[in-house]
């Protein structure tokens, strides 16, 4: 059962149409918890991209060998293995960034988005398609996290990637931990509004 989409379409699909954060509303824990800066979002995005791509490829490779009744535990253990790998790598080579992300790197193992993509896509499609789908989903997650981090860092601290761009702090509220909920809600509503405006414009033409 091959997908009828090209590799490029698969990547774009992950970033726009099925964006894990704003469209599928999966993996919200890090989106609320540690999206305070662009850098945090980027680092966790890299980790998720790695885990998603490698798990997708592994499952796609062994899809015919996995018994359907034990498929969920198999997916979980596959993800856990790759999470262990990235967890140890980050702890060894980027200890500062790792300390900032805290427990969330280990929690990638329970992110719904990865299991869902394995169940919906990688267990049915070829290795190449799964690879590109994994890239798309990972990038979609990364861009979602970075967009959230961009808004929160700019509005809360007046900086981007640590560089002072505004010279003042507009709304300190946005870097407070619980503001993640408000920020995600407001941005989702904003994207919904954009979409409705776009659709209306299309109808008129």
């Amino acid at each position: 059962m091959a997908t009828d989409k090209s590799n490029f379409q698969l990547v774009v699909n992950g970033i726009l149409n099925e964006n894990p954060i704003f469209r599928l509303v999966l993996s919200m824990c890090p989106a609320v918890g540690i999206s305070t800066t662009v850098m945090n979002g980027f680092m966790l995005g890299i980790a998720v991209l790695f885990v998603q791509v490698f798990s997708s490829c592994t499952i796609a490779l062994f899809q015919n060998k996995i018994h359907p009744r034990i498929r969920i535990p198999t997916y979980t253990l596959t993800i856990a293995t790759w999470v262990t790998v990235i967890d140890l790598v980050l702890a060894a080579y980027l200890p500062e960034a790792y300390a900032k992300m805290g427990i969330f790197v280990k929690l990638i193992v329970a992110f719904a988005i990865i299991t869902m993509r394995l169940e919906m896509f990688a267990s049915k499609e070829s290795v190449t398609a799964s690879f590109w789908d994994g890239i798309g989903m990972g990038l979609g997650f990364m861009f979602g996290m970075m967009a959230l981090g961009f808004v929160r860092e700019l509005l809360g601290l007046g900086t981007i990637l640590g560089y002072d761009v505004l010279g003042f702090k507009p709304l300190l509220f946005f870097v407070l931990p619980f503001a993640g909920f408000f920020c995600v809600g407001l941005m989702m509503a904003f994207f919904n509004y954009l979409e409705s405006v776009y659709k209306r414009a299309k109808q008129r033409v």
Partner: protein, 338 residues
């Protein structure tokens, strides 16, 4: 058989006791539970021996001491003659700002400059009263153990609620909080699975991972145990109580996509919790999730009737509401019941 009895008791259905269980074994269970409770209580009543006969926290920045014999007021009334530190950090001495000695010189209340972390056991010593050359006697100050356990439970339930103050388990939280029935089903299933899997994780961590230095396998082992628990509960429930399985079976798959289920074993491994602390933390985490789900579903059921801007309908407004709950839960910080 034990599981069957347990589930039936829990949901208020008549208990069908099978003849295979000997009556004597049945009787011994409550006695065993009682003995466990007494054991848990014991450390609270244990008295320190020697110069100081009784210790305890009497306030956020106070420690009260009782002496076995009257002490000289110039020594016992002098803040400089006391050495106090947390048991975990013997190098960090806590400054005693004031000592109130009772009239009969048999008890004193130490007041500290900064609030104490009363969850940690503290150590008090009186080096000035020790004869030269002898080892300084130390006295342990700790809360009653049961109170400490309850404070872990309350902390996981309210103060550090996993959903509203640690931002974990949100996917499942937003997915299953549309109806009160779903919220209750998910909450109970989750609590059951997390208590069982956290206790198993504790055993694996203490007796396999730690002795053999396999700490890097934490994630794989813990998530594996969760899958195992989910599969086991699924199989047992399907055979033992099909009605219950029809009600709660669908939520079992979702349990594994919940970050809290893996966060709790990681936290208890980091903090080196013992068995009772593990039980309380997992119960608090499950109960806290149930509480959060129930609160949220109550609001979302009412919101369906409200007039919400179209762009905010559904998930966006749920996020805003969750943010307000998180703000409200900030009010629990600093809560100190026990």
């Amino acid at each position: 058989m034990k599981i069957k009895m347990g589930t039936d008791l829990f949901f208020g259905q008549p208990v069908r006791c099978s003849a295979t269980i000997a009556p004597a074994k049945n009787k011994s269970v409550p006695i065993f539970v009682l003995a466990l409770f007494c054991l848990a209580l014991l450390p609270g009543f244990a008295r320190a021996e020697g110069m100081i006969s009784q210790t305890g926290f009497s306030g956020e920045r106070e420690i009260s001491l009782s002496f076995s014999q009257p002490l000289a007021p110039e020594v016992a009334g002098n803040p400089a003659s006391y050495v106090v530190y947390e048991e975990a950090d013997p190098d960090i001495r806590l400054a005693v700002s004031e000592v109130a000695l009772a009239a009969d010189q048999r008890s004193a209340v130490l007041t500290f400059a900064a609030p104490l972390n009363t969850l940690q056991p503290h150590v008090v010593a009186l080096p000035a009263l020790t004869p030269a050359g002898a080892e300084v006697e130390t006295f342990r100050v700790s809360k009653p153990y049961l109170g400490y356990l309850l404070s872990i439970l309350i902390s996981a339930l309210l103060i550090n609620n996993f959903v509203f103050t640690k931002y974990l388990g949100l996917c499942v939280f937003f997915g299953t909080s549309k109806r009160k029935d779903t919220a209750k089903g998910m909450g109970f299933t989750f609590t059951l699975v997390i208590v069982v899997s956290a206790i198993m994780s504790w055993f694996f961590y203490q007796f396999i991972l730690k002795p053999f230095h396999l700490n890097f396998l934490q994630i794989v082992i813990f998530i594996g145990l969760v899958s195992l628990t989910v599969q086991a509960v699924d199989t047992v429930l399907r055979k033992v109580n099909p009605a219950l399985f029809r009600a709660f079976g669908v939520y079992l798959v979702l349990v594994i996509a919940n970050c809290i289920i893996i966060a709790v074993p990681l936290i208890l491994a980091d903090n080196e919790y013992n068995f009772f602390e593990t039980f309380m933390l997992s119960l608090g985490a499950g109960g806290g999730f149930l509480l959060a789900l129930y609160l949220m579903s109550s609001v979302r059921e009412r919101m369906e009737l409200a007039n919400i801007p179209p762009a905010f309908k559904g998930i966006p407004i749920a996020f805003i509401v969750a943010g307000q709950f998180a703000l409200a839960f900030l009010g629990f910080s600093g809560l100190n019941l026990f």
